[in-house]
């Protein structure tokens, strides 16, 4: 029987991580300060797990 993941954020966790870090990586070639803004968003998002 297939089990459904009850965490409603599970669809978005990896997308947030990948999109933010990809954006940050592109920005890192130009400006470190801008690059860290998407990473900051990821750090904030992951605090869901400390709820």
């Amino acid at each position: 029987m297939e089990m459904c993941d009850p965490n409603p954020f599970s669809t978005y966790n990896h997308r947030v991580l990948l999109v933010c870090l990809a954006t940050g990586t592109l920005a890192a070639f130009f400006d470190l300060r801008v690059a860290f803004l998407p990473a900051a968003f990821v750090f904030g998002w992951s605090q869901i797990g400390g709820a």
Binding site: L21, A39, G44, S46, G49, G50
Partner: protein
């Protein structure tokens, strides 16, 4: 504690929807204010310590990110310098949900006032000090807070019923290791990004 468990069920009840929305915006808005104030302060401290990021400062942030990543991946174990307490649930009874939501947001937005749990926050703190710009520190912590606040805003649209919403914190806590790994990935990225920047400033 976050608003996920406290008020997400309100967002699933049609007649309480406007109350839920007010509470969420009070939470996100007040948290944005306190997070930005903390970021501005960190940037100002960095400015006083010496403006501009040097190679050595970037190596420090890189090493710190690596240590914190190792902690999140379970390779090493140490306590974060955090205040081991949650925000005050009793505020809801003392002040009502709307005011309490604003107070919770402000309290949690301070960052240092409650559990931090994962190490990413401290990389941001270090970076805000190293960059030494109050404006940048404020923006950095504001974006961090947006990441914390957005799930609270989205949650009612992602759960099926008020009863499921009430169980949300417990459901998420069962997958805490996933968030630890996500933080670990982002910390390894931070290590690499600051290392790259350090090598470029040499």
């Amino acid at each position: 504690m976050s608003l996920l468990g406290a008020i997400t069920p309100l967002g699933k009840v049609a007649h309480a929807r406007s109350q839920w929305l007010q509470c969420v915006w009070a939470y996100i808005g007040s948290g944005a204010v306190s997070a930005t104030i903390v970021g501005l302060s960190l940037g100002q401290i960095g400015y006083w310590l010496g403006r501009g990021y040097t190679t050595n400062k970037l190596y420090f942030v890189s090493l710190l990110s690596l240590l914190l990543a190792a902690r999140e991946w379970g390779w090493i174990n140490f306590r974060l310098p955090e205040r081991r307490s949650q925000t005050e649930k009793v505020w809801a009874h003392q002040f009502g949900f709307l005011v309490a939501s604003a107070m919770w947001g402000f309290h949690i937005g301070l960052g240092f006032a409650t559990w931090v749990m994962f190490g990413g926050f401290f990389t941001l703190v270090a970076l805000a000090v190293v960059i030494g710009s109050p404006l940048y520190g404020g923006i950095l912590m504001f974006v961090y807070w947006l990441g914390r606040g957005l799930p609270v805003l989205c949650a009612p649209n992602l759960v099926a019923s008020p009863s499921v919403a009430a169980e949300l914190p417990a459901t998420i806590l069962r997958t805490r290791s996933l968030y630890r790994r996500i933080t670990g990935f982002a910390l390894i990225w931070s290590c690499g990004a600051t290392l790259l920047a350090a090598l470029r400033t040499r």
